[in-house]
Structures are given as C-alpha cells and as structure tokens.
Point group: D2
Chain length 364, copies 4
C-alpha cells in the first residue's frame, strides 16, 4: 500500500463531525479543506460550540444529537471526537445506519466495546478507522517503509521513550495518556501489527496522586525480540525517541530534532553461523561475533499535515472498500495492550500493597 496525498477525481464523500470540543475542530478543519470530502454537519449537544465551529469551516449544518444527524442528513461517514466512554454508543448507531466511522483514540472505553464495534463494522461492510494521527506523520511513514522493505533486517529490540513535564490528569494514568502514541505507532510500523506474547507494566506514583506518573511497559515479541516503552509525566526534560534495533541496521527516531529526525545506523553486532563444530564454547562464541561500523544515513522527510493525509486515507479506504491503514482492529490491539498493562499493574497492587509489580499477562 502506498500512502500519499493525491487529488481526488471522485465526487466528494459527505461527512459529519460529532463533537466540537478539543479535537473535533482539527478534524472539521481538515475535512473542510479536503477535496475528498464535503463537511455536511457538526454535531454537538452544545449548539453554541457547534455553531462557532461551523462558522470557521464553511457553515455546515449544526445538529444537537446523533439521532437527529442520522435521521435528517444524507451522509456517508462520521468522525467521532467525543469522550471515550461515548464512542461505543455513537459508533454502533452510525454503523447500524450504514455509515463509515472514524473514531478518535482510544477506540472505546474497553476492549469488549471495541471488539463489538469492529465486528459490527465488519458485518455491516463499513469502514471503521482510528484517528492514530502520529501514524500519518512523515517520520512514521518513512519508518514503516524502511521496516517493510527489510532495510533494518529482523527486528531485535525497540526502545521508546516519551517523557516530559506532563499534566497529571484526573482520569487516566501515564500509561493511558502517553503510551497509546507509542503503541499505535508500533502497531503501524511492525509488519503484521503489534502482537506481544506478553505484557508487563511497572508503574510508580511517588506523588501519591492516585495513579502512575512514571511507567515502563515491556512487550516481548515473537522471535525473542523485546519492545519497551518508557512514559513519564515528571521529567523536566522532554524526550521523544524511539530506537529500532535490527539485525542489519538500527534506526533512531528523535522527534524533537527537526534537523535529523531519523538516523539509520549501519552499525551492529553480528553473530556468525555455527558452521564449524568447535570444542571450546568460549572460543566459538567469541569467534562468531563481529561488529559493523558503517555509515549513518538520515533520509529526507517530506512535509505535510498528518491530519490532511489521514482524512484523505479515510476517503481512499472507503472508495476502495479496503481496511484503513489504522483500522478498527489496529485500534483494538492497542486497547488490549493498555488493558493488559492495567491488569499487570492492578494485580501487582493486589498482591503487594506498597508497590506495583510486574505480572505476566496473556495479551490479546
């Protein structure tokens, strides 16, 4: 699959944005600008808010309820940017009405709801897509290409760090706040998606805020590889870095370095094949190891607005009748890992009062 912005030759699809709060305006603006789409309506219980947004996005209709929207407007698709606990209800109604559905992350408030949405959309033959915006950035698209092309070889380890002085939030812990970014990216770039064989979380709440503010997530993958995510709300320095170690090359993504966001290192450790039978294990081990100290390469990245590409991909998926690049199943995998992480934390807490401890979780 090639992901690229392109001009549409099709008639525009008709979309309504549901939710005019924090994220809805970004969606509405991008749908309004896209030649793939015609923004037909803004839906929000707060009609003032909906009207204010409508004025900035070409004056689509304003409606106060999803029922009204589905009943009175001819639309092909909806984009849901409401609180997570309402996603399931709205999406199920829209799917039942035969609409395609784009949902802001997380897909739903729990994976049971999420799975129902995925199955309903499949049964109805409509597209269910998750707005994993990061996946449509130039850097992540390039990483996905590099992994797909085999440039890095086999994946050995992935280490992701996403830390900064963050808002300690009332509803969610640091895992649910920050790790969805890392998890949705991993699911997007790994050929076959993110399918850890286990999930283990370590968290700390040293401020006694009632939720983890520092978190580590270990995700053993198949073939002995290990993905690890560090999320932290208490760090005075901001880091957004992912290292993807491969058997051929290693990629470093430093998202806060605009001058060299991606670096591909042709450096690594090679273990040779055990061609010769040797008596002395120590020598053999030593003999098998070699180092590559080759060039580093930093690919140029094009610049475009990720949300613009995302709405364009939504249209392309609908027209082609194929799953979206970040489809419902992808979002469901992310949700399941987050739930497994929470169970890992909670059962640790259950068995040992003072500290969170890791447990092995059957994931997914």
């Amino acid at each position: 699959m090639s992901i690229a912005p392109e001009t549409s030759v099709h008639p525009a699809l008709r979309i309504a944005v549901i939710g005019a709060g924090y994220w809805g305006p970004n969606l509405a603006r991008n749908f309004a600008m896209s030649t793939d789409w015609e923004l037909v309506a803004i839906c929000d219980r707060d009609l003032d808010r909906a009207s204010a947004l409508a004025r900035k996005t070409g004056e689509p209709a304003v409606v106060a309820s999803v029922e009204e929207l589905l009943r009175e407007h001819t639309i092909d698709a909806v984009a849901i940017a409401t609180p997570a606990r309402t996603h399931h209800g709205i999406a199920m109604a829209a799917i039942a009405a035969g609409k395609h559905v784009l949902v802001e992350k997380p897909l739903a408030d729990n994976s049971i709801h999420g799975r129902e949405m995925v199955e309903a959309a499949r049964a109805a033959g409509t597209i269910l897509m998750a707005d994993h915006t990061y996946c449509y950035t130039p850097a992540v698209l390039k990483i996905r290409d590099l992994l797909a092309s085999g440039e890095l070889g086999e994946i050995l380890y992935i280490d992701s760090v996403r830390i900064n002085l963050g808002l300690v939030q009332p509803d969610v812990d640091v895992f649910w706040d920050l790790a969805p970014h890392d998890l949705s990216i991993l699911d997007f770039i790994l050929p076959g998606g993110l399918k850890p064989v286990a999930v283990s979380a370590q968290g700390a709440d040293p401020l006694n805020s009632g939720k983890s503010c520092v978190g580590y997530l270990s995700l053993p993958l198949e073939n002995g590889a290990l993905a690890h995510i560090h999320v932290n709300w208490l760090s005075p320095t901001k880091i957004r870095q992912m290292v993807i170690g491969g058997s051929r090359k290693t990629l470093v993504w430093d998202d806060l370095n605009p001058q060299q966001r991606l670096s591909v290192f042709d450096r690594g450790v090679d273990l040779g094949r055990q061609e010769a039978v040797r008596d002395d294990v120590e020598d053999r081990k030593g003999a098998m190891i070699s180092y590559r100290l080759g060039d580093t390469w930093s690919p140029a990245l094009s610049e475009f607005e990720p949300l613009g590409l995302m709405v364009s991909e939504y249209a392309a998926s609908i027209r082609a009748g194929r799953p979206a690049p970040t489809d419902g199943e992808s979002a469901l995998r992310v949700l399941s890992v987050l739930e497994a992480a929470s169970r890992s934390l909670a059962e640790g807490r259950a068995t040992r009062d003072e500290v969170n401890h890791p447990i092995l979780e059957e994931a997914l």
Copy 2:
C-alpha cells in the same frame, strides 16, 4: 563524610596488588603514585606479567602465590584484581592473616561467598572495600552531596540508561556486565544505600547468543519511588545518562557531555495539600497540581583521577578504623540485586520457554 584528596602525614601503608592482568596495572600505578601507600609486591601466577608490571611501578617484589605473599612479606593490605571466582578464597586468606582487603567488582561470584567475606572482615576488624571506581568520579561525588543535602527533596524516580555497541561476552550477560556500574552508583548516592523492595528484570537475547544482550531492571524503592536501569549491548548510539527525579528538583547526569555533565532542574510537578474539602474529586485533583518552571543549574566539577581518590580513601578508612565509602556491605547489596535479577530472568524462562518474563523477587 567529606571525600577529598589530601596529602598524608602518616607513614605509608604497605600494600600488595594481587593480579597483574587487565585491571591490576591501574591499581598498582595508583598505589605507586600515592603518598599514602608503599607498593610492596605484585602477586601473579604469571611471573613474567608480574615482573613487567613491577618494572613500571617502582620495582616492588614479585611473588607467584598468595600464600607466599602473606608468609614472606610485611604488608598491611592487599588489592585483589583476579577473576571473580577467586575473590572469595584470596580475600578469606588475607582477612585470616589480618590484612585489609580491596576487591575489584564484583565482590564475589555469589552472595553467599560475599556475605562470608563481609562477616569475616567484621570479625577480624579489618577493612573490606570494593573498588567501585565510578563512585569516586567528580560527577558521582557531587550527586551524592546533592542528595545528602536534600537539594533534590525526596527521591521520586531514578532512570538510568547505559547503552552502546558492546562486546557480547562469553561469561556474563548484559546485566552482569553493565548494571554493576549503575547499581554501585545508586548504592553510593542514595542515603541509606540501595535497598529495593523488589527486583524485576526483563531481558532479550534476539541474537540467540545464549545470554541477554538487552536488559531492563525495575527496582521499586520505599515510599513509592522507582529506580529503573536500561542496559544494552546492541545500541549503535552510546548513552550514559541518569535522571534522578526529586520532589524539589530533578538532576540529569549526562556523562558523555563534558561541557555540562550535571544539570539540576528546578522544574517539576507539585501536588498541593488537601487543605480544603471539596466535593468534586476531579476539580480537587486539578486544583492541587502546580508546576515549577524555574532555572537550571549546572555545577562546576573539579577534575581528578577517580582511582587516585579511591586508593586515598582506602588508606583513610584503614587509619580511621571506619567503613570505606564503598565497603563490603555495599558491594554485597549490589551483588544481591544482580542475583535477584538473574533469578527473575531464570524463573521467567522456566515457566515460559520463548521469552524472559518478570517475576517479583524478595531482594536482599
């Protein structure tokens, strides 16, 4: 305790260095240069190697065995730089002969041996010291001072990263190779030493080398704090960084940035006291949180050779009859955490063939 190099007014103490291999020459050179010490003998089964070293360090005597050394030479102390599995035997013999003992890390090949050494030295009234060289660097001494002074407030989390393209070694995994540095530093800087309430390790051997090449170590501390260590032999970039988050300030130690090795950030999240009783939990939580965005300060560090200070501290501890700054108990704590980490890895492997998984370990 103040740690500083000083000129001795005492008669020099008499030392022998045992082991003339990789590390012994560094020790011998520093003992030879020190006014606190008189280097009396070099002991190594390989007499050629011992003689070569003796020629560079003022021509001390050369002896082939510990027995001969203890029998025929008048010494106050020994410094042991032999393979780890021999530490216990040599140290016990030296202690039995009433000598003070400095041991290269690790203290011993297992904690039972290590504990015997600690107890024997205590019973004999001799000093048992570990050569945790990193603890005598200007940066670590400054960090210890800052923590002791309360400058950072209460410790909330510690995140240490020590990764590079490393030698995949025949004998030890990445935990035993690299983590002793982080652990001995933590033990040195934390008031009261490193006393985790649990130890959990995640490792990966994606090259099928027979041992972990990528490792994560979680060490929940008392009061909800969490220490975490990332060690990695497969990283094309070299990082040596430790972040110590405190309730007042946060310290970042970037050992590869000679221009600003230490940074103390007066930035952080504060949770206020629940002075007012509020009905709405969400609001109350929100109201309690505030951010400090103050100055950053990078203290100047003096420059000196860590090993020079270490041998000087060894002499000072002997003369004062007080435990060394990195004494046997400290080294035993480090050893115990490493053993707990290995058990964590092994039991995971036992219960699940393909991946290492974390387990909760009673530590120490």
Copy 3:
C-alpha cells in the same frame, strides 16, 4: 525600564493598520486582542485584502488610502506594514497629522529618509517606534536585563550566527535580510545602544546570484570589544546563536534549543593587575592569567507572544510620553550600520573586481 505586559486602566487608544499583506495581519490581530488598543481601520489599496483581514479582526473600517484614513477617521496612531520604500511617505504624512507611528523594519529605504522621520516625530512630539519584534521575546528581554545589571561585567566580544537554507531574495542581500535581526537585538541589549567605531563587511556571492549570500560583519565597539555577525543563506543546518563574552561571565543564547535557550557561564580568563614589577615578561604575563571554571546557570524564561508585548509597549510609550524601547533612533542606528556595510562591500568591489573586500567605514 521594566518591560512587562499589564492590564490597562486607560481608555483604549485608536489605531489603524496600514498594509494588509504579509506582516499587517499579525499586527492587526495583536492590536485587536489588546485592551490597550481599539483597532479602528485597516488601510490597503487592495480593498479585498483589507476586507478579508477586517473580517478576522473585529470588523474595523476598511479604507483604500492613507489620505482617506487620516481625513475621515479619528485615530491616535498608525502601524505601517507596507513595502520599505513607502515607509517614509506614509510616516511623514501621519506625523504631519499628529499621529504616533509604528513602522515595520527597516525604518526606511535609506538613512536620510529615516533621519527625517526621526526628526519630524521629535518636532511633532509624537512617538516613532520600530517593530523590532525579536526585542520583545523573553530571551532578549532577559539578556538585556542581565547586561544592564552588570551580571556579565564589561562586554569583551559578541559573536552572532544566523544561518540557514534561506530564500535567495530578489531585492536584498543576506545582510539586509538577516542582519537587521542581530543589529536590532544588539542595539536593544547594549547599554547605550549599538555604536560601532567602524563597520566592515565581507560578502560572497558564489552562486553568481547578483548579491551576497554569505556575509560577515565586524563591528569594533568602544573599549576594544568586537561584535561579529555571520549571516548565511546557504547553510544546510540552521543556527541561531549569540555568544556575549563578558569580563565576569559569558552568556550563550541558543534560540533553537527550547530546553536551554540561555546559558550563563561563570567561566573565563582573568588577567590580574600588574601590581608587582617583574623583570621577566614571560613569567609576568603567565602569572597574571587565571581561569574561572565555575557553574553554569540557565535562567527560566516566561512565555508570551512578543508582538503582544510590543503593542502594549507602544501604548505605554504614548501614554507616558517617553521614547519607545525600540524607538526611531534605534531603528536609525540599525539602518546606518546596514548602509555602512553595503558601502564597505561596494567600495571593495569597486577597487577590486573579483572579490568583495573589507574597508574601514566611518559609521553613523
């Protein structure tokens, strides 16, 4: 003088923005948001452009000419954001009508025009202010404070680098495009303003574009200090860095490092006083020199929109009847240095065909 945003208790001053092209909208938006100001009119020959801007800024009147504006609208002040060659005519008309004038940089197309504007405003008792936006950023304000307080001691040298892959422009060379930023900042932060004793420019046009794309500007200051500016359109890496070396401390401003924009180094070279008469010159020189290797300090910076502060300062200057922080004379000094730089380049070119060479210029 303390520069700080504050809420106004005065009736709003009435302003018109002249020019609705590239920069005018930024000015109009900030005047519209300010409680100090009432945006009365947008003036542009292109009425469509003016109307479009008016719709976004609270629907002020739209007028097509400065004459109409001055004749038909009651205003206190104007803000001019038209091409540089028109600044003089518009400003002189506005001053003649008793209006205060804010001018986008450069003040005028030449210093004769600029001087007329300064003198006319002085005679009329109106405020003439230059929109040197950079001077109202948190970093530059902090630098100005540090220099004013004597924190750095006496200024020894200033080295400013402003390079990136820039637009090779049809009208101006790299000096006129980029150096105004550095020069207006220098004028703002140096106590007494920028008063070089000479101006010397070196430029290169290796692409044969007809104008310098790489430029160096040397500005010897009083007391033996030297300011130097490097501007470059052809650099693949982007650097915005200014080093201000003082006799007590040295400040480094790295504008592209949001995590540590300012660093104050308590490091430097000290030459002692020649208290003792010594025969041996070499020893004496050696003896007089010492080094400070003290702490580094990075002050926290507040965050606000520079243009918001600038329009607020414009109002405050008018109300207090005092010169603006970046007044007409400041802008005239900047203009004069740029003209001297051009003469330095041109006379070099005149006497030597192939290369630009430096000449000494009587400045200002």
Copy 4:
C-alpha cells in the same frame, strides 16, 4: 594519491629526533613503533631530557648538538621539534648534509626563512615535510577524498570555528596559536592548496593582554568563494566545527561529536540556468532558484593514530621521491597567510589607534 597505513617491505630508514621537549616525545614514540623507521638518535641540548626520552623509545643514541648528530651518526632523515625560531638553522644544516627533514609547525619563524628552506630542499633533492598532524586524522582524510572526488561540487564557502577557553600565551596571538590548524587543513583538503586572493583579519584584545584573543580571518578564494575562520581564546564553550558549502552538497565536520563527526547534506540552493529570456528580472530570479532537501549521510571513519600515519607517509615520500602530502610548500603557504593576517592587523592598528581594522592584503 592514496593515503593508508601499510606494512613496509623496505629496509627501515634511519631517523633522529631533534628536540625532546613537548612534541618530540610524540614523534620519537611513533618513529620507534614504526616498521618504516629505525630511531637512531635523540638530540637535545638538555642531555637528561634526551636520555629520559631515549629510555622510553628503545634506547637510541643521545647527542647534545645537531653538529654532532650530523657528523657522527648515519641517518637518512631528521625530525625537528624545537622552538620555531631555530627551525631554519637546523633544517638548513640538515639539508646541506643531504638529510630529509620533517619540521613541527610552524615551518619557520618567517616566510623568508621558510622559502629558503623550501628552495634548499628542492635544490638538494631532499624531502621537506611539515608535521601538520591534523591532516592525518581520519576525518580530514575523508574530507579531502570527498572534495577530490567532486562529491560536494564546486566550493562555495568554508566556515571554520575553533574556540575554547584557551591559554592566553606570552609569545603568540590567537591567530598564530589556533589558525595554523585551520589553515593547514584548508591547504590539505582544497584541490590545489590554499590560495586566497586576499587576506583580511579582525582581532580584538578586550583584556588588554597585548595580543588578539578573539580573531576573524577572511580569505576570499577564486571563483567568488569565501573561507572564514573564527578563533577565540575566551569562549566558555568549546567548538571545533567546519562547514564546507558546495554547489552539490555541504559537509559539516563537528570534531567534538564522536558519534557523527562528518555529515554530508544533500541540501542547498540551486540557481538554474537562464535558458529562457524573460522580461521581468524579479520573476526570472525567482524562477531560477530551487532548493534541494535531500538525505544526510554520515560516513564511517576508521580509527588510527594520526602521527603513526604521518611518519609512515614521511617514509613513503622519501622512498618514492615525491613531495610529502604536507610538504614544505604547503607549510609555506600557511605561514604566508599568517603573516598576511598579522600585517592586516598591524596596519589597521597603525592607522587607527583604538581598533584593529581590516585591510586588503596581497597574499603569498
């Protein structure tokens, strides 16, 4: 010419090192280790110093004077590491005796002396080589290769910065202390050597130390290119960076970044050809400009000791009877530019008391 360390199959050449002070030991050690050379003698008026050095380098003969050396020892070549003012006398005597000569930088105390040395060696048919050590580092060799291969296209500009908190020296100013490194590197990497069409220096002595502590050197090259060097003893931060802008690519050498010392940017500004005749100059100019925003590439560098390669190249040049890579003429060009810079500074001072000002100098 390919520069690479190789094992010699020739009989070793016989060398004497003259001068056992600061730099001589480095030379003696490398000659002693080389299979190309036999270190025959150490020559120093201070026989104790010479003897101490001889003990560490295989016990060559020790002699007190050059006359004695040339009279009593069979040697092929000498290496001179004595104070600059003695280079001429020693070298002329050695050349007269038919010896090859390696001279520590600077070649001589003035260019008249230097020229005599070059001409004497040419007449005698002996090799005169300058120890421009930096030119034998992996980074500089790679840069030279890249320029020779045309990878960067035509050189547009070179900007070199070499600043740190330096020792204010009794004998030399910052130009003579630091710029020889930059100049010898430029001479080495530029195809055809360093041949500026003018030399202009700006210096500042804000500490009143009697010599420039901050210096800028402008070196217009042929074809409109410009080289510029910034040297500074008063900078609290250490920078060693050279940018070489080419018409095809731009190279950045950051010598203090061991993880990415060289970066080659496929980024730049292109001015197209004026294929179409256009009326509107402004549009035409605009149309002609385009930007390349391609990949960045960081070549791997091998690791070896530069001095080891240098002594090996000395031997290879002698055996092949070809000029050394850093031959006497190269050193003479460097010396001439330094002298021109000093004249530029001095004449400025003569005509204007307070400040150094730039003058155009006929160079070389």
